[in-house]
């Protein structure tokens, strides 16, 4: 269980995160989406007590992260796979974590196996690891204390397609057994298949959130593009067709292709594109929601 309540972070006047509120329930995987620089990492650091919020609060399992006695045993966190001592071996990183949180050293070998790091690779220095191997090591580090909550920032970065598939099934299994997962990504495709819920953030604010079906449903309708976007917008409004810009110069219209075509024809607007918008599913929505805020 993760609860985020009106979190805000200001840096010398610049707002990195503003008024972010969401909740992750046990048994679910929440995809935390947004373009680079949207405030995902800052929000996650605030949840984990690494960055003091300017406003608002966050709790994990009902308590602020920093007030959990031995957080490594309840919450598994991977915020940056590159943040490891380059000279330490992968096995040693896990051994130190196991020692700190107080689990048996036997878990080290188990975790290496669970994330698919062969013993030979585990003896090598982390500096020689690929990003994908570091992600696997970071995931092992997050899982070693047998947590109930996982907070992962861009865990799919650097993983090959097989690795992404493996991680999906691992996270799905974790959630299906009652765990709570929050994972961020700037690529919708990476999390679309595994997440039940999405929180989309852009420009430091929540742009949309909800269950996958809700958000996908929202993207139904048609996409219309014209040589003169302003005239198209007026024509759609004149025909009482609800529309909103998709951020690339086209409009997403709640209605049929025929209705949109008629509206354009009546106004003499030249269309260059007219098609079902839900072909790209969440991706279109993602682009729509994030484009305006990052401009």
């Amino acid at each position: 269980m993760i609860e985020v309540e009106r979190l805000s972070k200001r840096y010398r006047g610049a707002e990195a995160v503003r008024d972010v509120t969401f909740r992750c329930a046990p048994g679910t995987v929440t995809g935390f989406l947004g373009p680079n620089g949207a405030g995902k990492s800052t929000t996650m650091r605030m949840i984990c007590g690494l960055t003091p919020p300017s406003d608002g609060a966050a709790t994990v399992l009902g308590r602020p992260y920093r007030r959990i006695a031995n957080p490594g045993r309840h919450v598994g966190v991977l915020l940056d796979a590159a943040a490891q001592h380059a000279g330490r071996s992968g096995r040693e990183v896990l051994a130190l974590t196991a020692r700190t949180v107080g689990v048996e050293q036997r878990r080290v070998g188990e975790m290496l196996e669970a994330v698919g790091l062969p013993a030979k690779a585990a003896r090598r220095r982390v500096g020689a690891y690929s990003l994908g191997m570091r992600q696997r090591l970071g995931l092992a580090q997050a899982l070693i204390g047998d947590p109930k909550v996982l907070i992962l920032d861009e865990p799919a970065n650097g993983l090959d397609p097989e690795g992404i598939f493996w991680m999906r099934s691992l996270l799905r299994g974790f959630a299906d057994r009652g765990g709570t997962v929050l994972l961020s990504s700037h690529l919708l495709r990476e999390v679309e298949a595994v997440a039940d819920r999405f929180v989309v953030i852009a420009g430091g604010r929540i742009a949309a959130q909800g269950a996958k079906e809700e958000l996908l449903g929202d993207a139904s309708g048609v996409l219309v593009r014209a040589t003169d976007p302003a005239a198209l917008h007026a024509a759609l409004a004149g025909a009482r067709l609800p529309s909103r810009p998709d951020g690339t110069g086209a409009y997403l219209v709640q209605g049929s292709a025929e209705a949109a075509g008629h509206a354009a024809a009546r106004a003499g607007v030249v269309l260059t594109e007219l098609r079902q918008a839900n072909g790209n599913g969440l991706e279109e929505l993602f682009l729509t929601l994030t484009h305006g805020a990052t401009r």
Partner: protein, 263 residues
């Protein structure tokens, strides 16, 4: 395969259990961190080697009658003392440069406990090297005996061992405090060696600062700890200089470390 390994408990968790890691365990982890990388191990070996390297210096330069075990012990410590602060500095600054502070603070959110563990670990290292210096001194004196170069006694005053131990521990802790305050290896190292000496240089140039220099240059004040029979005046200077170069940076460094955003 992973099913049994990553089983999340669904029942309401008691977040006070398991208890937070004890300070003893955190200290042991800190000590392990100083030895589990190749660069870390080499640094420790280098520090130990400086103690050994000082032995021939005594053997071939000191008058035969003065080559006692105590003399070798003090010489060993002079070598070690130069590098001990660097151990303290690196224990903190590498956490920032290698970005391991992220995992450290995630596992131990109370950063004051991170500081306490680093100080305790540093104290253990300092004491360990003081004793290693004693071992090097025994070897040095034995070699001197075999070579017929050492005529001094096989004794060392217990009070000298105690003050050298204090010197070693204070050296590491000053480094740790500087590392916490400046959070950057080159900056902390340069300032650590420069700032106390600056007082001596200024003292030599500006007559009115001469008195202050005698009290604040740790290179001078702490030197008294490596000689038998520390006077009360020398103790006062040790205390004053440690207050300025250990306690102040430690207090400011603790505040900085507790407040800094960890990325």
């Amino acid at each position: 395969m992973t099913a049994t390994l990553t089983r999340p408990a669904t029942a309401h968790a008691d977040l006070a259990e398991p208890p937070r890691p004890s300070l003893a365990r955190l200290t042991a982890v800190e000590l392990r961190k100083t030895t589990d990388t190749r660069s870390g191990r080499w640094l420790l070996i280098l520090v130990a080697l400086t103690a050994v390297a000082m032995m021939p210096v005594v053997l071939y330069t000191a008058p035969k009658g003065e080559q006692s075990l105590g003399e070798f012990f003090v010489a060993a410590q002079l070598g070690v003392g130069l590098l001990l602060p660097v151990l303290g500095i690196l224990a903190v600054t590498t956490e920032w440069s290698q970005r391991t502070m992220l995992s450290t603070c995630l596992l131990v959110p109370d950063r004051h406990r991170v500081v306490a563990a680093k100080l305790l670990g540093g104290a253990v290292l300092g004491a360990g090297f003081a004793l290693a210096g004693l071992a090097a001194a025994v070897l040095g004196r034995a070699a001197g005996g075999l070579l017929g170069r050492s005529g001094g006694g096989w004794t060392v005053e217990p009070s000298l061992v105690a003050t050298v131990l204090l010197f070693a521990v204070a050296s590491v802790l000053m480094g740790t405090a500087f590392g916490m305050l400046f959070m950057n290896t080159p900056l902390a190292v340069v300032l650590y060696f420069l700032l106390p000496t600056l007082w001596s240089t200024l003292g030599a140039m500006v007559g009115r600062l001469e008195g202050t220099a005698k009290w604040l240059d740790t290179h001078r004040t702490l030197d008294a700890l490596t000689h038998p029979g520390v006077t009360s005046g020398e103790w006062a200077r040790v205390a004053a200089s440690l207050a300025v170069w250990l306690l102040l940076p430690l207090a400011a460094g603790t505040v900085r470390l507790a407040r800094r955003e960890v990325k």
